[in-house]
């Protein structure tokens, strides 16, 4: 449990826009331990998905390191990367867009096997595809069906099967259930957890849905505008959030009780533009506790307590 399978160090991804550099992911560092699920939460446009994609180099990181099993994959060439991708896979948000509409399920799931030439014989590929379909709860009878004939939940199962085909150790789940309705969400989440238990997988679970993240994660990283503001144990973060943004975020979870205390923190103002952000804390403009130092200096992510990381100058003060 203790070994870090993935370490992300100072990962940055900037996009060029007509107005300037868009800091989608700005100096993000975190690590994931083997066999755990790290939940990555944040509002829309805060760079969660870009982080996930940059880790797999589906978008090229502007700078920074992604150490997978001790090796920095950012330096890998094409062949090494192809090898590395056998161990790190991704499940996409939209099961309608992530499957090639011109391929049937058998072809879609066998693509990873064929591209990486895992088996020599055609028969073995088909057998493996059938096994995978069974693992994710699809009957092999659907082998020749096309994606448009399936509902969202089954399509997402196909996406899961494709990601599992190469026996990866680590899977980025980019909002895998946000396009599905709640009953199907539960099915897919449970399926993912069963598979994790069975195969000992490590997940990076990206979501904006706190209830979902709460359900699956061991540890949680909170992102705000391209930065990780807090990273800690699942229990700790829900019991005692340290960062003012996390506090506001968690207070927004509706409590289904009549007598629930109404202590929701309403943030004022809008999320500032990630294009050419100024120095200082990204959350400065909306923070209840802001002080001059917050504007002057960018707070670094630091270990406040063992295993609890937070990027705020005022934690000590606020916790008192």
């Amino acid at each position: 449990m203790s070994k870090n399978i993935l370490e992300v160090k100072n990962l940055k991804k900037y996009f060029k826009t007509p107005k300037g550099m868009l800091h989608a992911v700005d100096d993000v560092s975190f690590f994931i331990k083997e066999g755990e699920t790290l939940g990555l939460v944040g509002e829309s446009g805060c760079g969660k998905s870009t982080t996930g994609r940059a880790i797999l180099r589906l978008v090229e990181p502007t700078s920074g390191e992604v150490n997978f099993e001790g090796k920095n994959i950012v330096d890998f060439n094409g062949a090494q990367m192809r090898e590395a991708r056998k161990n790190m896979q991704i499940i996409f948000q939209d099961p309608y867009a992530s499957l090639n509409p011109r391929m049937n399920l058998g072809q879609i799931i066998s693509e990873p096997l064929l591209i990486n030439k895992v088996y020599k014989e055609r028969k073995k590929v088909t057998d493996r595809v059938k096994e995978l379909m069974d693992t994710v709860g699809l009957t092999p009878r659907l082998l020749n069906a096309f994606p448009h004939e399936l509902d969202g939940g089954r399509r997402q199962r196909v996406g899961v099967a494709r990601a599992l085909a190469l026996n990866p150790k680590f899977i980025v789940q980019d909002e895998p259930v946000s396009a599905l309705d709640v009953s199907i969400q539960a099915q897919i989440l449970n399926l993912m957890q069963d598979i994790q238990d069975e195969l000992g997988l490590t997940y990076l679970f990206i979501s904006h849905d706190l209830s979902v993240v709460k359900h699956v994660s061991d540890r949680i990283a909170v992102m705000y505008l391209g930065k990780v503001v807090e990273l800690s144990d699942y229990n700790a973060i829900f019991r005692n959030p340290l960062h003012p943004y996390t506090q506001a975020l968690l207070s927004a979870i509706p409590v289904p009780r009549m007598d629930a205390p109404d202590n929701m923190i309403i943030l004022e103002g809008d999320v500032p533009s990630p294009v050419n952000p100024p120095d200082g804390c990204r959350f400065y403009g909306r923070c209840r506790y802001r002080q001059d130092i917050c504007k002057a200096k960018t707070p670094e992510l630091r270990e406040y307590e063992p295993e609890r990381f937070v990027a705020c100058h005022l934690v000590e003060e606020l916790q008192r």
């Binding site: 991704i90 996409f92 499957l99 391929m103 591209i115 069974d134 659907l142 004939e149 069975e198």
Partner: protein, 339 residues
């Protein structure tokens, strides 16, 4: 065809167990569970009474079969197809259909009106116009399909490269295409044909080059819209290289507009070739080409109308058929367009 029948293969889950079966007969229950798409417990079946590897999926019709089914429902498309099939048969069996060879001259009977021997009359050398129209179909089909084929392949490669890689390559290729597009197609074909000299092959080259930009643009536009789709990203995530992504993920998804443009393009190529022949830059006599026949017939229009009418009708019907087929294909390939 009702949707029920269509999904029969997919939705066939075996017999649904009755309530009493559920409680009493385990075999029935197991059979039902194994047939449902979502198992109650993933992996539960494996290694017990049923090996998943032995489950054979039902055979499926290909997507092209579906397209074909929609196509033959369209009456106009069938009409177009019949015309094209007749044209193809005429071209293949020209030797058996034509009563005379296209070069056979009968100088005693020049410019004869249509009669029982010469159904479409004879021309200014006494050649049988019916035979020449029949043989002419070979030339037209060759020019039409080969020119479009060349344009489609070259334009397709250029378009997919420039759409997929974008950036500088895209700019270079597309500005070149703009240069070609800036010159009216027929003018460009005339210029190329004039530079290369007349002849069948040169006509195909000229017409082909003139229509490359159109395919390049269509393919580029489709590739651009598909390039950032998640399924392309998914392919990259499992290690697919660019060639595989373009050929297996992008191009199959932009076939519809290319095929439609191709069918309509054949008609235009035939017309352009006829135009080139008409002004003397195309196929040279005595090879019978419809446009060239029209061209020679022009000076006899007052007293030998049959010399121009029949090759003209042949061109017209061919274009008509191809256009109907092209429209039908567009509807069949993209059922959403019809609403």
């Amino acid at each position: 065809m009702s949707p029920k029948n269509e999904n029969k293969d997919l939705m066939d889950r075996g017999k649904k167990p009755k309530a009493k079966d559920l409680t009493r007969d385990d075999a029935v229950v197991k059979n039902y569970q194994s047939q449902t798409e979502i198992h109650s417990r993933p992996g539960a079946v494996e290694g017990k009474d049923l090996d998943v590897r032995t489950i054979e999926p039902p055979k499926r019709k290909s997507q092209w079969a579906e397209v074909w089914k929609r196509l033959i429902k369209n009456k106009a498309a069938i009409a177009g197809m019949i015309v094209i099939v007749i044209l193809l048969l005429t071209a293949i069996f020209a030797d058996f259909i034509a009563p005379f060879h296209y070069e056979t001259q009968d100088l005693q009977n020049v410019r004869m009106a249509p009669n029982s021997d010469n159904w479409f009359g004879t021309d200014n050398f006494g050649r049988d116009i019916f035979s020449r129209v029949v043989y002419g179909s070979r030339i037209s089909i060759q020019v039409g399909f080969i020119a479009v084929g060349v344009a489609m392949i070259v334009g397709g490669i250029l378009g997919s490269v420039s759409g997929y890689y974008s950036g500088r390559i895209d700019n270079v290729i597309m500005r070149l295409m703009d240069v070609l597009l800036a010159i009216p197609g027929i003018l460009l074909a005339i210029a190329i044909a004039a530079a290369l000299g007349p002849g069948l092959v040169n006509v195909m080259i000229a017409v082909g080059i003139a229509s490359i930009p159109r395919y390049a643009r269509i393919v580029r536009a489709s590739v651009l819209s598909l390039r950032d789709q998640e399924f392309v990203e998914a392919a990259r995530a499992v290690g697919a290289n660019d060639f595989r992504i373009i050929t297996k993920y992008i191009l199959p998804n932009c076939m519809a507009p290319i095929i439609v443009q191709g069918t309509l393009g054949v008609a235009e190529a035939i017309l352009a070739a006829a135009g080139l022949s008409f002004i003397g830059l195309g196929i040279q006599p005595p090879i019978p080409e419809w446009g060239a026949m029209l061209s020679t017939a022009r000076i006899y229009l007052r007293d030998a109308w049959w010399m121009s009418i029949f090759p003209g009708l042949a061109i017209m019907f061919t274009i008509f058929g191809l256009n109907l087929l092209g429209d039908g294909l567009r509807d069949a390939l993209d059922p959403r367009l019809k609403g």
